[in-house]
């Protein structure tokens, strides 16, 4: 019963996301094949998780779990239903003092189960004018613990105008989600060097500012 309801809700969410954003996936240097991957993306809107989830082909989507903040997704029964039953998120607590689990253990458990993941390495929504906030270490820790898994950079374009922080009604604008060539942490690669490389991989997918066509 719950799973039928979850499927219907999932279909409705995808339809709504497409209605508002006509979202299009651009696979640039990587193909949408069902292989275990960790998608890491820029984070400027609450809808980011849903937008990536929407553009993944169904077979890949079914095996992909967004890593998300427990304090957000457990806030109300509806969010709990969408977060757990529809999106099948890996819920982690961002507040070290309140949590009774190790976020990294939960994430690695999901990876060992064969799931692909969606993560936002900035750790919070970016409300600044900078294109990206500095990445947290989680991405590095995952890659060194499971070096066989590809990390796929993702750039989400325009969703922050569709639904800026604090707004309830989304406005319809075209969005794109660009997937780039995968990276992995090299053996002995220092944390900072890897995180810088990962940030550059995401930024490289952002559309360049309008220029004169020839």
């Amino acid at each position: 019963m719950i799973s039928v309801l979850a499927r219907l809700t999932g279909a409705a969410i995808i339809l709504f996301a497409r209605f508002i954003t006509a979202v299009r996936a651009i696979w640039d240097g990587i193909e949408p094949v069902p292989r275990q991957r960790i998608y890491f993306a820029n984070h400027a809107s609450n809808g980011d998780t849903i937008l990536i989830w929407t553009v993944l082909p169904p077979a890949i989507r079914a095996r992909t779990r967004p890593v998300a903040a427990a304090d957000y997704w457990l806030q109300s029964p509806l969010r709990r239903f969408i977060g757990q039953d529809v999106l099948n998120t890996v819920l982690i607590d961002r507040r070290p003092e309140a949590r009774n689990h190790d976020p990294m253990a939960l994430i690695l458990e999901a990876v060992d189960d064969g799931a692909s993941l969606i993560i936002f390495p900035e750790g919070q929504r970016n409300a600044t004018n900078a294109p990206l906030l500095p990445f947290k270490s989680g991405l590095y820790n995952i890659s060194t613990a499971r070096p066989q898994v590809d990390l796929v950079p993702v750039w989400i374009e325009n969703l922050n105008s569709v639904m800026p922080k604090g707004k309830i009604i989304p406005i319809p604008l075209l969005c794109t989600v660009t997937f780039g060539a995968p990276i992995r942490a090299e053996p002995d690669e220092p944390r900072e060097a890897f995180l810088t490389r990962a940030q550059e991989a995401v930024l490289a997918l952002a559309p360049r500012p309008a220029e004169d066509p020839q």
Partner: protein, 316 residues
């Protein structure tokens, strides 16, 4: 009404015949020149023809569903066009509410007014009421940076994507003596002539096009394409006089007027795309680009066609 249905069916068969011919030519070209799909022009041509099948089917279904079907179809086209247009306009965070109002209030109200046939209001709702009221909502948000550009571009988007586009279904509200129950054929005439003009301009341009009309605005529009396309589309429009309230010569003049409006409409929209550094407005119609890429000529010709018919033929 059966007369209108019969004529419509006849027209549909004609379009179906053209599409079968086009599909065959596309398949032969692909088979002869690049069976492996390596020629982008042929691939694009075939994608366009496939999309034409889809668009024709959608239009036919809407026409058979009558007034409600046509109004819903064009309301959706307006929505998709506005979504593309607003993606490229100058905005700030303060414009969230005005833009939400544009999409979720202005657009439905405009099509509702057409549905209830209130000419006195739908013909001035966006050019007068929205023109004055929406900037008030905008400036009350308190952000003056680029405010003149922001309100202008939002208004222009609404005029093009909603106001002008809504004049296609508005043709259904005209009352023409001796033409009762056949207004849907006026829409068919407008769309067939304008879209055929686009297709024929493209075809003539690809075949013999050499001299560019406006190289600064559009690299693909040539004098050969323009003259050949407008002339042949006007001929087809003239030959379609029997589905209209016009005489043969009137049908020719109307066809010429709407194909020219359509051509210059395409030029204007092309200039805006250049300014914003994009090649297409969107990507939803395979081979064509976005909704605006397909609708630009219809949008520019619809209000003028509407008012010409209303002034010379309509009794209201």
């Amino acid at each position: 009404m059966t007369g209108a249905n019969g004529d419509f069916l006849f027209l549909l068969l004609g379009i179906g015949g053209i599409l079968v011919l086009a599909t065959t030519i596309g398949a032969v070209l692909k088979h002869r020149i690049a069976p492996d799909g390596s020629n982008p022009t042929i691939e694009n041509l075939n994608a366009r023809i496939m999309a034409w099948w889809g668009m024709t089917a959608l239009l036919a279904i809407a026409f058979l569903a009558g007034r409600t079907g046509v109004i819903i179809l064009f309301a959706f086209c307006s929505f998709a066009a506005l979504r593309e247009f607003m993606t490229l306009t100058t905005k700030s965070a303060a414009d969230h509410w005005p833009i939400a109002v544009a999409f979720f209030v202005v657009l439905p109200v405009q099509y509702y007014l057409i549905w209830i046939d209130w000419y006195g209001l739908y013909s001035i709702f966006i050019p007068v009421y929205v023109f004055l009221l929406l900037p008030i909502i905008t400036v009350l948000q308190g952000d003056t940076r680029n405010v003149f550009i922001r309100i202008s571009e939002t208004q222009w988007a609404l005029m093009i994507c909603v106001f002008c586009a809504s004049h296609v279904p508005a043709l259904l509200t005209l009352q023409i003596e001796g033409y009762e129950g056949r207004n849907i054929l006026l829409i068919a005439f407008l769309i067939v002539v304008v879209q055929l003009s686009d297709v024929l301009q493209y075809t003539w341009g690809k075949l013999i096009g050499k001299h560019k009309v406006a190289p600064a605005l559009s690299p693909s529009k040539t004098w050969e394409g323009l003259l050949g396309g407008v002339a042949s589309a006007t001929l087809v429009g003239t030959a379609l006089w029997w589905i209209t309230p016009f005489t043969v010569w009137q049908a020719a003049a109307m066809s010429l007027a709407i194909t020219l409006c359509g051509f210059f409409g395409g030029l204007v929209m092309s200039a805006i795309k250049r300014d914003r550094g994009v090649k297409d407005w969107g990507h939803l119609i395979a081979g064509h680009g976005g909704f605006i890429d397909r609708l630009d000529s219809v949008v520019f010709s619809a209000p003028i066609f509407f008012h010409l018919v209303r002034y010379y033929w309509s009794s209201v």
